[in-house]
Symmetry: C2
DNA sequence: CAAATTTTGTACCTACAGGTAAAGAAAGAG
DNA sequence: CTCTTTCTTTACCTGTAGGTACAAAATTTG
């Protein structure tokens, strides 16, 4: 009962995610959110409680969409090497595409709030772990099918792939050129 | 002539660097700076002009100390593999040491301001390029001396090393464990 | 020592961050 | 058709961000 909301909270969280993703947590103001969500400040605070609470919801949204999409991609069957290549190249195109060099929301959050906001840090840590796990599973598949050398430590390779992926997206934000990003992908696949 | 400063501006820039490094640009307030530098607000603005101008000076300081130190380390003569290992492991210890998981100031700045503050973005971009150049030179040395396989593209390997380094430091900020960081180093050296 | 120059401390300012309060509007319950 | 509940709007509030202004203090020059 009661008056129904005039906006869809799920849509609003998505828009808020875009703002936080582009500007970061500290640089995003209530006014920014009001402008981009197209709702009043009262509704904003009534629906989400605080800037920080909304921020956490956007991080969860990121995990459940972007981060999850990558993991699903990596979990696909079939030849592993082209799978890894297309996954990494997709991220390059995303970072260089029309949304424009906003990098990875989880990475941005790690460097802005890591160690200073426990909830956010923990969310990011788990996303990294999940991604690394997906890389590890892919590498092990490749090793079983003989695509990759079987003697390399899958854990170590997966950790390297996570680090390279994270590094790539930071470099993209710092105006790293497309060629440089592709070289990273080439080198990491050559390392298998 | 005129009254001499009661503080050493170079020391002050160093202290300001620590603050910005820990908290980021947006989250650092004039009050934070006044507290940590131990000077009045009047002196602060008289000496440095604005928060942003001071921030740029701290980034330059970072480039001329931390970033330059890594490049110098990598430029040393002698066996290359242990050199690379000790350089990367030094960063791990730095990130996990008593100063505590503040990551890399350049990386933090890239993700906070990349694409939104031209001067900072450009400074970071150049630091990344310099570091990559030092990696490349080291790899080429290793190839000449027969330490590394000579057929691999030194540019690509250097780009990968930069990305792995950057990724490592982000992961460190997100509470990544010591073992994970060491695995990354192992994997990247195995890739040579 | 007076004049000129620079630094320092204190006070002050405007705008906005991050919300809260209160009253009215829109739904369902009885 | 009133009562209750929830949402919306508008107004308001406190604290601080990011500086500026100005007088007093400390130095060099002549």
């Amino acid at each position: 009962m009661g008056r129904p909301k005039q906006f869809d909270p799920d849509v609003a969280v998505g828009k808020a995610m875009d703002v936080f993703w582009r500007k970061g947590y500290a640089a995003t103001t209530p006014q920014d959110l009001v402008d981009e969500l197209g709702i009043g400040k009262g509704s904003l605070y009534n629906a989400f409680g605080s800037k920080h609470a909304l921020f956490e919801r956007t991080l969860e949204r990121y995990r459940d969409t972007q981060s999850a999409a990558l993991v699903e991609l990596l979990d696909q069957t079939g030849p592993v090497r082209p799978l890894l290549r297309s996954a990494l190249e997709l991220l390059i195109e995303t970072d260089l595409g029309p949304s424009g060099r906003r990098g990875c929301f989880a990475v941005n959050t790690a460097t802005e709030l890591g160690g200073r906001d426990d909830a956010s840090t923990e969310l990011v840590r788990r996303m990294f772990e999940r991604t690394e796990g997906a890389f590890k599973a892919a590498v092990e598949r490749g090793q079983r099918t003989g695509e990759f050398a079987p003697d390399r430590d899958a854990d170590a390779v997966a950790s390297l792939m996570l680090a390279a992926l994270v590094g790539m997206r930071v470099i993209a934000r710092a105006q790293g050129g497309r060629e440089r990003l592709h070289r990273i992908v080439d080198a990491v696949l050559d390392a298998l």
